[in-house]
């Protein structure tokens, strides 16, 4: 395989404490190495920024919902189209791009890994069939566990070890990477036409509360010693006054120790969970309260779910939320009950600059990034496509790096933001080092991938992004348009040591790995739980157990991450 030298780049590699140093990065056989022997190809990176490849920690990029969004929105596809080239296929879709396009667009921005945020276990086969069609990036899927009958029963009965063994089986069966919880218990309640509006509001029949479910799954996650913590979309997403629930939720894992050097809980798209007020007329940002809580709790990592002020699509496993949203907009919507597991929904949404709510939502996303002091705790997402499409990341980077740009946008949105958010008073501007944390290094660490990803140390995967930005010439605070432009189109995206993008154009397509967790538990325990699984499949599921698991052959470059549980 090829050898590569990235010469004289200005390197930002936060995991290795490299902050804008001029250095060479050496690549051999898809890995970063210390020495090369001979005829390496040289890329001149002088006057250019070199960072590890970007890592997406929460994006709805593949699966049943995403495809539903594509199918029922032809109008989304007429808004964005990319013709085929000699190396790429054609693709369409602004907020729900086609599979191939998804891979290309991430790669153009210098991203090399991406996680799809919500996979109902029953839809795992569909999800992986789609992931198989997403080229360019390494990928993984988050397995939904919020309204799962097995889990609710085990936890209600206090059978935590059996629950752990079940979740271990579920991850293997679905080739999942993360235990994802969306609106805990609420998605089951939705099957009964109800929702769970507080942490102590139990799911019907199963009589387990969101607090118990989250606490139980946090423990299970640590018993299984999974690479990532639980990944939680908390209750009351998108609801007025929900910041109270969010603050409560942050405390739920207290007392449980993380099994690895990482957070105990990843709380996702917190912009949607930082709302004050009790009517839409006094709706306000509570980002300051949330930031205060995160600043005093090192065991929490959040991602922002920053609103980009676009016409986009909302899609989540939180079916009752989608129902609620369409009752506000009267636009088309979809809901589905995934038997025994969860209840997703979809509806289009327009974050209009003229709307007070959307304007405050925009402010909240940025406030979170700027008020939370430690960038390792506040990762950058748009909860694609819920708060905006991922292709807007460069714009968010520019907002974070430039107070002036924020002021300019603030002057174009509803003036209510000056009263009901703190965005106008915030001077902080991110450095390139901070950006490298919130878009790659922080993600790698939070996902338990930092042994191989999110950094440029020896032994790491040679996933590298080069941007045509010279930090000694460009002042991001003033030249924010330039920052946005350069982060939109990487000078080079290198994946496993191969150049995939050059000057923003795709020059080669490749398939990335599919990462999944091979979770190992005690054999006897697993056998016992298998009996439960077989029994319940016969009794309740509409599919045969044998047809449920995802075959490894479906995965592109199947890469298991093995973890042995403490049970």
């Amino acid at each position: 395989m090829s050898e590569l030298v990235l010469k004289n780049g200005i390197v930002y590699d936060p995991i290795n404490n490299v902050n804008g140093e001029k250095m060479d990065i050496l690549v051999k056989d898809g890995k970063i190495v210390e020495k090369l022997n001979g005829n390496a190809k040289t890329i001149d990176c002088s006057g250019k920024i070199v960072m590890p490849g970007g890592i997406e920690i929460h994006s709805h990029m593949a699966g049943g919902k995403v495809n539903g969004g594509r199918l029922f929105q032809p109008e989304d596809h007429v808004r964005f189209a990319m013709p085929k080239t000699k190396v790429t296929r054609s693709g369409t879709g602004f907020s729900t791009p086609t599979t191939f396009l998804t891979g290309y667009l991430y790669s153009k921005m210098g991203y090399t890994t991406g996680m799809t945020a919500a996979m109902p276990p029953l839809m795992a086969r569909h999800t992986h069939e789609e992931l198989k069609d997403i080229p360019m990036i390494d990928k993984g899927a988050y397995c939904l566990t919020d309204g799962n009958w097995f889990i609710m029963k085990y936890l209600k009965n206090g059978e935590i070890e059996k629950c752990a063994a079940y979740v271990s089986w579920l991850l293997k069966a679905t080739k999942g990477y993360v235990v994802k919880i969306t609106n805990p218990c609420g998605t089951e309640a939705w099957g009964w036409g109800k929702n769970c509006r507080s942490l102590d509001d139990p799911a019907p029949y199963f009589d387990i509360t969101p607090r118990e479910l989250v606490k139980g799954l946090v423990e299970v996650n640590e018993i299984l010693k999974l690479p990532h913590s639980v990944h939680l979309h908390a209750n009351n997403c998108g609801r007025l006054g929900n910041f109270v629930t969010t603050l409560e939720t942050f405390k739920v894992p207290n007392g449980t120790k993380p099994a690895a050097k990482r957070q105990i809980m990843h709380a996702t798209h917190i912009q949607f969970h930082s709302y004050g007020g009790d009517t839409w007329h006094n709706f306000e940002s509570k980002a300051d309260e949330i930031a205060k809580a995160v600043n005093s709790n090192k065991n929490i990592v959040i991602d922002t779910g920053t609103v980009t002020l676009d016409h986009t699509t909302t899609m989540t496993a939180d079916g009752p939320l989608e129902y609620y949203l369409q009752s506000l907009t009267h636009l088309k919507w979809m809901n589905r009950n995934v038997e025994m597991e969860t209840s997703p929904g979809i509806t289009p949404f327009i974050y209009s600059r003229k709307m007070p709510t959307a304007s405050i939502q925009w402010a909240i996303g940025l406030e979170l990034s700027l008020l939370i002091k430690d960038p390792w705790q506040v990762l950058m997402t748009t909860d694609h496509p819920n708060a905006g499409p991922f292709i807007r990341y460069p714009r968010i980077i520019a907002w974070l790096m430039s107070r002036k740009y924020r002021e300019e946008t603030a002057s174009k949105v509803h003036k209510v933001i000056y009263d009901r958010s703190t965005i106008d008073g915030i001077d902080r501007e991110y450095s390139f080092y901070d950006i490298a944390i919130v878009t790659r290094a922080g993600e790698a660490k939070a996902l338990g991938l930092s042994d191989r990803k999110g950094h440029l140390g020896v032994g790491a995967d040679a996933d590298i992004a080069v941007y045509d930005i010279n930090p000694s010439e460009i002042d991001p605070s003033r030249d924010y348009k330039e920052i946005e432009k350069k982060f939109s189109s990487a000078a080079y995206t290198i994946k496993d040591g191969e150049i995939l993008v050059k000057n923003g154009e795709i020059v080669q397509t490749r398939y990335g790995r599919t990462l999944w967790v091979n979770s190992k538990v005690d054999g006897e325990l697993e056998k016992e739980v298998m009996k439960d699984i077989e029994y319940n499949f016969k009794r309740y599921y509409s599919v045969n157990l044998a047809n449920y698991p995802v075959r490894e052959e479906v995965l592109t470059r199947s890469t298991e991450v093995t973890r042995s549980a403490s049970v």
């Binding site: 929105q73 032809p74 109008e75 989304d76 007429v78």
Partner: protein, 264 residues
């Protein structure tokens, strides 16, 4: 002074041609040779306008004073005048889909008939069709909930199904008859049907007005029967005679403001 650019179709293909470049905005200030070079889509290939049309005349610098005359049948040419903002197009034959879609200004006259989606999401300007129009005249893009919102469409002949679908403004006049679901999902604007109209007129409309001068097939039961009006005045137009007013469509909620006037 108007100047003309004349397009004569060379051959009619079975595969449709997508030619949104046929509009004064594109032609203005170009030489005939440059106009011939403009890209058109034929199947999955990009070709040149000059491969499909003889081009003559001269293009004015100012699109406002430019008229494009299509001499002949272009019933397999889509998107003529799509997004045009000014000037004029005259087609002396039939036209395929999306004529004047997303048009903002100017004027299109078609001496023949047009296929579906003419005037889709149009915002301004005028389309005059001497023949018939097919379905979704002045409607929305597939999946969208925003149809025509300005300008005027006049059809001398008959119109197909779902005329004025999701209409949000502007005016559509059908001198002949109109098929089913006229004004479906309509929110604002005016539709005048001088002939008769088929069933389910105004289905799920929440606003706007539909005037039917001819016969009207059975109305949806979700409309309320209003009073009889003598001599109708609407948007500065006058219609003599007695009209029955219907309000709906209450299937959409309690506060709908859609109105159908049917001449008695």
């Amino acid at each position: 002074m108007m100047t003309d650019v004349i397009l004569v179709p060379k051959v009619q293909h079975k595969i449709s041609l997508e030619a949104e470049v046929i509009k004064p905005d594109e032609f203005a200030g170009k030489t005939i040779e440059e106009i011939k070079e403009l890209p058109v889509y034929f199947g999955n290939t990009v070709q040149k306008l000059g491969d499909f049309f003889e081009v003559s005349g001269s293009a004015e610098e100012n699109a406002e004073n430019l008229r494009i005359v299509v001499e002949g049948d272009v019933s397999r040419v889509k998107r003529i005048g799509e997004g045009m903002t000014t000037g004029e197009i005259l087609v002396k034959g039939d036209v395929d889909m999306y004529l004047g879609a997303r048009m903002k200004g100017g004027r299109i006259v078609v001496e023949g008939s047009v296929d579906s989606f003419a005037g889709q999401q149009m915002r301004g300007g005028e389309i005059e069709i001497k023949g018939n129009a097919k379905d979704y005249l002045g409607g929305s893009y597939r999946g969208d909930w925003r149809g025509m919102r300005g300008g005027r469409i006049i059809v001398e002949g008959n119109a197909g199904k779902e005329v004025a679908e999701f209409m949000r403004g502007g005016e559509i006049i059908i001198k002949g008859n109109c098929d089913s679901f006229a004004g479906v999902h309509m929110k604002k604007g005016l539709v005048i049907i001088e002939g008769s109209v088929a069933e389910r007129v105004g289905a799920e409309m929440v606003g706007g007005s539909i005037i039917v001068l001819g016969e009207m097939a059975n109305l949806l039961p979700s409309f309320k029967i209003g009073e009889v009006v003598e001599g109708l005045k609407i948007d500065g137009r006058e219609f003599p005679g007695k009209f029955r007013k219907y309000i709906g469509d209450f299937a959409e909620g309690p506060s709908v403001k859609g109105v159908i006037y049917k001449r008695l």
